[in-house]
Symmetry: C2
Amino acid sequence: MMGRKALDYEELNENVKKVQYAVRGELYLRASELQKEGKRIIFTNVGNPHALGQKPLTFPRQVVALCQAPFLLDDPNVGLIFPADAIARAKHYLSLAPGGLGAYSDSRGIPGVRKEVAEFIQRRDGYPSDPELIYLTDGASKGVMQMLNAIIRNERDGILVPVPQYPLYSAAISLFGGSLVPYYLEEEANWGLDLVSTRQSVAEARSKGITVRAMVIINPGNPTGQCLSEANIRELLNFCYQEKLVLLADEVYQQNVYQDERPFISARKVMFDMGPPVSREVQLISFHTVSKGYWGECGQRGGYFEMTNIPPKTVDEIYKVASIALSPNVPGQIFMGLMVNPPKPGDISYLKYSAESKSILESLRRRAQIMTDGFNSCRNVVCNFTEGAMYSFPQIRLPQRAMDVAKSAGKEPDVYYCLKLLEATGISTVPGSGFGQKEGVFHLRTTILPAEEDMPAIMSSFKKFNDSFMDQYQDHSRL
Amino acid sequence: MMGRKALDYEELNENVKKVQYAVRGELYLRASELQKEGKRIIFTNVGNPHALGQKPLTFPRQVVALCQAPFLLDDPNVGLIFPADAIARAKHYLSLAPGGLGAYSDSRGIPGVRKEVAEFIQRRDGYPSDPELIYLTDGASKGVMQMLNAIIRNERDGILVPVPQYPLYSAAISLFGGSLVPYYLEEEANWGLDLVSTRQSVAEARSKGITVRAMVIINPGNPTGQCLSEANIRELLNFCYQEKLVLLADEVYQQNVYQDERPFISARKVMFDMGPPVSREVQLISFHTVSKGYWGECGQRGGYFEMTNIPPKTVDEIYKVASIALSPNVPGQIFMGLMVNPPKPGDISYLKYSAESKSILESLRRRAQIMTDGFNSCRNVVCNFTEGAMYSFPQIRLPQRAMDVAKSAGKEPDVYYCLKLLEATGISTVPGSGFGQKEGVFHLRTTILPAEEDMPAIMSSFKKFNDSFMDQYQDHSRL
């Protein structure tokens, strides 16, 4: 013991060691190795559209490029390569950010950009929004981590998290030393939220001495792709009201909806529609980002969270903690401003911007369909339609023999399947166990992001692998 | 109790509430209020050069602007407004970052940029550096927080921090629930580090049941501005070796040196010069950033840390935790690459880049002198010369009556003085109590960043305020 040093593995903070993060876990590491060896890898493990060839929208890039190089604004040739509205918008953001992109902003973000976010929320929901309650962040993940850090005091504090879930939540809860309380989404009901079983989860946690303090929803769902109905959201808001739970509404995929029956509706709008007491009592934090949607500007790390019904003293504490790292990156803040305030009809760049956005979104919708259909055509695979977000989450019904072989290789059955898939096809997915799933049921997550023209070949390569895998391991004695 | 919700102030994580962050504390908030009321405020509370008018270096901004707008690279007019070496460099970084600035990178940063950082370190220190042990971060602060989070397990884990210190350290240690163990810098010895008293600090902490696990040094110093001598660094490395302490070397001001007797020398170089056992045993983490130096690109949030003698399993754990927030912002990573690999003699942009850098650095050197001399010309003020970094940290010898008045106003004496200074002159500083100081001794911190041409007026306005303040509170009975 005495011979050890603080950064020896045995001496590290146990919460750090407990963290699991499957999206960049064993499968990702193996895929990276294979890539180094020269194999062509299709990275569908992370929702990272530009990495798979999605082109950035032109207008926001023009504006941010000009903000990075403000000396261009005085160049007589600038009009030859930048449209006038991009130039005007760059000047607008530089006027909001004294010192430009190279100066720390206020730790909550640039006030003028927060105002643009508030105006967007008001247009979207029909209720006013206060810029003082909107904090800009380096992507939504950082905001989620800030809030969980403020909520979790010790291992007896529980956070309700959907299962399957995006592993940001399980990882951050481990890191901050809290307890994850799972509530199960119903695969047979298109991954709907069932409050009866959620209440059981809360009761069970309580019986173990855990105080459930907050509930996470991801809408549209990751990895499950469902869009929550208004009625479902109303139900869960009532539940949060009764149980005095903070609602953490991860709404980063709000632009990504691929069906028309259930358009995106924010938890905040439903809450205000419900009126008091729910609208005045439920503590709600809503998250958004520039990484998803048809922007897909993941690498820029722009995001925000909005606080509703949070006491002012708490808002100040969140500000204080945000101050430690001084400020979110300023270019990412400008992207956030541009996303909530895009070119309008009549602007020079409007037609191009609309055409680019529409083309991405329509292609995603087609890809969601191709992928769902592709999975459902495979042996022992069933898959709900991707109503929203960026993922497909098929259930893989593994033969007993495959599970036995996986077990003897020391792997979870879904990890084993995904590794074989990777080695056979180069398709890099994430095993369902990284997101949580019911006992004995197996999935994988893949993004719907490969280029549309590559999709048929990818799905046929998947089918070929899967069907021959099933062939190999099928328990023929049972046939 | 039962009626409370998790985000009520009373219910928050106590560690969050305990955090103090003076750089954006009471003084900053008051200054922001006064600014809203129309008063002209000189913000010298944060080392934020661009906010005070420092112009960004042209070449890196050209490169990053082109990376943001890769479609410009095909524009026939691009050569009219961008030099050829900026265009070539943008293509270079886009080739290193598949998917460009809009794609998440590896959570450790872009491999090609980490390689450029390793080459820079090798040129600087004369010893090879391994890119696999260099992680890019959103500014140095985020890296410091990651490492402290890995080290601190509970309140019995102590971190040696210089006093006066930069409050990032005290804030992060509070947030992660550890114990700050102060070691005092010696103002009379130009803020030198005295290991005799440091050993006493460690012994005292031990007697309270605290295990000291790591030691922070800030070189050049913040807020104290001293540059550590090679002999001093050697001494403290021996100390870390004997006590098995991780050394956290905050070297973000390594470009900011304003005297020639003690040029910057990295802890890593001294350690390797010493040879074994120190060079093989001491666990060292070194931090750097694009926010300081003559770049001052604070808002871009670029930084790195390098790990030396850290076991591979720990390196993997740090990687895993970094993965939770997916990736540092990619434009900030490109800035880091550009900073460690600037234009070379013979490049088209070399002369301009050198002239811009030199002009900023020489002006900072002159401003350091003007400020030190200005403070030393004031009544009851003594100030060490700013050898490096970006701050002046004068001692203010407050008359007893001023302390009494402050006490009856419920303020620390230095806070009271700084508030009066702010209200009289608009100069926004940070009271010494925010950094820690010896009992009964008072300071303030100001940056040396106001424009050089404004400096004489600022110092004369300070002197006028100070001398009349001293006049007002001087205990005349004692004269």
